[in-house]
């Protein structure tokens, strides 16, 4: 499910002080967030060969970066300073944080860096870099056709069980 434009970004500490930061409306990340993923691979051009030898070792989740601009005139009196205090405390406590954005993003992360820049006491430009520990919904799949075949089999088995249940007296439970 994709995130709607007005879905809030929610940061919830899983431990520590149990803080929650809700970024909504004017506090939403100004430039959204970047969520890159890499494939670890080595490519070697053997002498004389017309194609490289590629070894694929598996995907890795790179750091997620959120960038925002909180202004009191958009979010209310004291909003920039409150946001700064909470993000700073989260960064300093160093406990896992759940990062959610609508149905699009749901990850357990560690805050690596929080960088605030003040234009004035009511205007805060901030950057948050987080390392992803657990990514829900977009887990890395083994890059092998055989695994996909097993998943297909599992889906077929599920469908067969559902059909069988439907034939039972009273239909499917």
């Amino acid at each position: 499910m994709a995130a709607a434009n007005d879905d809030p970004v929610v940061l919830t500490q899983l431990g520590g002080s149990g803080l929650t930061v809700l970024l909504t409306g004017g506090l939403l990340p100004e430039r959204g967030l970047s969520d890159p993923v890499s494939q670890r691979m080595s490519r070697t051009w053997l002498p004389g060969a017309e194609e490289p030898v590629t070894q694929v070792m598996g995907p890795s989740q790179d750091a997620v970066t959120l960038t925002g601009y909180a202004r009191d005139e958009m979010a209310g009196e004291g909003a920039a300073q409150t946001l700064d205090a909470r993000l700073r405390r989260m960064a300093r406590e160093g406990v896992p944080v759940r990062l959610e954005w609508g149905g699009q993003l749901d990850k357990v992360v560690m805050i690596e860096r929080y960088a605030p820049e003040w234009d004035d006491l009511g205007s805060l430009r901030w950057t948050l870099e987080v390392a992803v520990d657990v990514s829900h919904g977009d887990e890395a799949r083994p890059a092998r056709p055989a695994m996909e075949a097993i998943e297909d089999l599992a889906r077929e088995a599920d469908a067969a069980v559902a059909e069988a249940r439907a034939l039972l007296p009273g239909g499917a439970p």
Binding site: L46, P47, V53, T54, Q55, V56, A149
Partner: protein, 424 residues
Amino acid sequence: MPVYYPRCLVRLEPVLDDFGATETDALDRQPAIEVIPESAAWECRPPGEAGVATVAIPWRDLPLDPRTLRDVRLSLYVWDAGAPTLGALGYSELAQVFVGFVDEPESAHGETAQTVTLSARDYQGRLMDTSSQTVSVRADRPLSACIRQVIDESGVPGFGDPAQHPAGLGLAIRLPDGDPTLQSVTGKSRWTPPSRASVWDVIAAMCRTLGMRAGFRLGDLIVRRPQPIDPERVKLFVYGQNVRELRFRRDLRPYARKGVRAVAWAPADRRLVEATYPDPPPDEVVVLQVEEGAWTPATLRQRAEALYHALGEREMTGRLDTVVMEDLDEATLTTLRSGDVISVRLRSGDPAVLHGMSRGEIVNHLIRHGVRPGVAEALADAWLQAEGGLATVYAVDRAAHEWSAADGYRLGIDFRSVIVPQEG
């Protein structure tokens, strides 16, 4: 485009130390632990040397403290998860590349990493470490029974009968060429092993007496007669296609040659035949077993002479490195071991290099570079004649394999041109 998905798994079967709380025999092998390592290296070495493996495992992934280990059997599996031949899971016993016992578990803790490094040798290593306690064996029993007697009497750790020793693994002995008796060659009722020898030395001596060779292939002890080269099993390497780095060495210095004693099994006579070259031999003699056949003293002497000249004059050694997991015939390379036969060719796509050119191309190339036509033709003939005499088939001396989570699979092969038939 060759694309591989190299994967690695380590299986550990530990026996934990109870620090004197119970009798040794009462200790049981713990359930196997399977871990994905950070890196692994395994090397298949020439006969007489045990194969080795080293794996590095993240400390947090190992559910036991390495300091509590008394004994560990280590199996290493490496496979291409994209290969369709290894079953639905992409991993099976076919992927096993090493099995042996850990010699040294080492755990290192620091700011940057916490890693457990396990160094192991294959089963041959443990047999080499254990002194033989056998005084003599009955020569009228099959060879396999004699080998079992030596192992059992010497109490090789970990090799006991699983029915009697909870931590024992037993040992599979395979003799595809038959299970002869020592008496069939010696004619005596008892056979006495060399004194102060290791269990492995005694097994090797028994096999030599029968013109056979012993070697481990993973967990099985294979005893058989030397086999001629099977062209189907020759792995193909071509510099210019599937080789990253290639070196050839040839030692041109004159040196004191060793004599050669060729030993072969003559099945029609049911006896070993020997021939030495030169005759009388110099002080040092290399004993080489050759494949069985209808050898006469004269034909075997010719073979010994050919081996003598090959060793003394024409032996070429080399090394190649590659990152492919299959050769050009799509045979897997992760199980390549010492004694396997490879074909190594040099082909260059560089238009300024003569390798791979036909006679006409060489002549034209030389003429373009100012050589007169008659001289160019003579040079081309000499070049092709010399190149045609070069060996292209080599025996693997050492096969050093590496896998790491960051860089994938690497293979380094030391090879030599003089090929003596190998077991298996």
